[in-house]
Symmetry: C2
Subunit: 346 residues, 2 copies
Amino acid sequence: MAEKKKPEDSNGSIVTLKSVAAHVGLSAGTVSAVLNDAPSAKHIPKPTRERIIAAARKLDYRPNFFARSLRKQRTFTIGVIAHEIGDGYSSTVIAGIENSARLKNYFFVTGVHRHNQELFDKYCRLLLQRGAEGLISLDFNLAQSLPVPAVAIPGHMDNEGVTNIVLDHHHAAELALKHLMDFGHRRIAILKGHPDSADAASRWKAVQDVAREIGLELNPELVIQIDSTDSTPGLGYPFARKLIENKHPFTALFAYNDISAIGAIRAFQEFGWRVPQDVSVVGFDDIPAAAFHYPSLTTIRQPLHKMGEIAVDLLVDQIERKSEWQREIAVQPEIKIRESTGPVAA
Amino acid sequence: MAEKKKPEDSNGSIVTLKSVAAHVGLSAGTVSAVLNDAPSAKHIPKPTRERIIAAARKLDYRPNFFARSLRKQRTFTIGVIAHEIGDGYSSTVIAGIENSARLKNYFFVTGVHRHNQELFDKYCRLLLQRGAEGLISLDFNLAQSLPVPAVAIPGHMDNEGVTNIVLDHHHAAELALKHLMDFGHRRIAILKGHPDSADAASRWKAVQDVAREIGLELNPELVIQIDSTDSTPGLGYPFARKLIENKHPFTALFAYNDISAIGAIRAFQEFGWRVPQDVSVVGFDDIPAAAFHYPSLTTIRQPLHKMGEIAVDLLVDQIERKSEWQREIAVQPEIKIRESTGPVAA
DNA sequence: CCATATAATGAAAAGCCTTTCGTCGCGACC
DNA sequence: GGTCGCGACGAAAGGCTTTTCATTATATGG
């Protein structure tokens, strides 16, 4: 059992810069300079340098993060505020954030907002106090500027200093609707997202625009608004029921996301409709479960992992003043055609 | 647009303890004592106290976290090292961790290990350097003690100072196997977890024990070992195929987790078998997708959220020396009976 | 041989907070 | 009246680094 200890010398006291300085018979300042490769260390002869480095390694010296942050006024930390940690959307983006942050030797700390402004503010303060040098907000309708560089995923508001990462919703709507039209669908039901969902408004607008462009008529009876914030497939179920009960004929559904699509399919199946023979369903996001659902889900894929990576890259560049603030970055969706869509019944 | 600024006074310089002290014409020490409700402040008369507090609020004073940590040698931070952020298991546990940590005014920072010892060690060092006062490892076969209090979820090794949170696997196996036997199943296939998965060994042992106890014979031909670390339903698919190709008859499958169960069902369906009419399937974990899969999944539920909460509670108690180290805490599983299991075909 | 540059290091401040200890004034008590 | 105790604060140390500036010694050039 490899005992892993906090670095301490033979006396059992913690090894600090001073103690390694004492160990090599030099001053703390000198040791610090060498260990950090500071410009002031350029006159230190090589043997001395090596002595210092060897001692530091031998004693397993680890600089005190807090003392260092205090002095340098840098923390290499970014804050992430998500709706909830457990949901598929955030966790995929966060995985991307982790990936990029690790490569850049940054750290991230997390908070949740649950679409609640107060909670958001609370975590915002907390994270800043903990030294976050930049913030990433996930799925929040951010209506304020922030005191540090920030990225909103997805972001649709216009806040100075906040970079919005957006999906090209117009293209997304095109992919979905054209795919359905190619299969002959004309009566297409739409599941609109909850207003709290940051993408809801622009997605809906894109759907309307594209429908007009390609000459598809959207029947208001077939447009259902999700008004629950549930993040299980329960999200889609009741609205699909409502759609069924409306008794307005339709042959396809473009859902707000995969979760609601799965819930809707469930409702259809219980009602005795087969997917895709009786009704085609297109989801959104391409969560892992989409491919293994039965039937597997045709869906519009968002590059969530990559969006997390991009967010960190942008943020770090701004923190380190390597680049200017950008108002918006668009990423492209992709359609994954699977089993849940098919030709309209003859 | 509410501009949220870093606290600074009218000169635009950052507001520090000294500046609020200057503002009220007192010393920094006094202000600190009052603001922290320190014992030494008990002789400060109420009017003065209120003046200080009012000034702090007015200037929006926020103590510098790093200076404070440096001085108090406390950080109120716990480190979490998970397999991967995005997967259903970790993110649910982490949601529990977040919940409990927030209530206790602790923070958490996250790392990933990907079942890789080096990566684990790297993050371990990093988190400790960042002042983590306790660690939680998720789904890692932890083979070492750690320099701070730690909790392993799930934990099966015997490390001094590490509290293992385990599911009562014996009970879990009982729930699953008895349920299947009640439906008349006798030829039950088992999907064994990947050895990297911390629960794999004890779950398998429990299955064997229970099978013996209830007089169920496990046919080695029907026991398949998962040897991929994929965390999509692709996890179960190839092994179900293998099972089918073995041509050894079976009427039910007890999968290692819901993900692999879903993959397996997929394989069965493609082969033309109906679930549960031709084969019953029991999953494990009760991830959100389980309830909305088609057919919905009978599964053994782990209280993952609660396990995260318990981990934080234990950890904080130990950090604050409120309680002694416990070697192990067991939590109870629950069976969720849904559509994927049914009586064996006549 | 003196002035000056440069190498090699030390000393000390600064970053912001907490905490211990000390001081000063004043009422109480013997 | 002297001592004691207490109320109300201030001063300063201490936590660990980083960084600037100063100092000493050596080398270089004239």
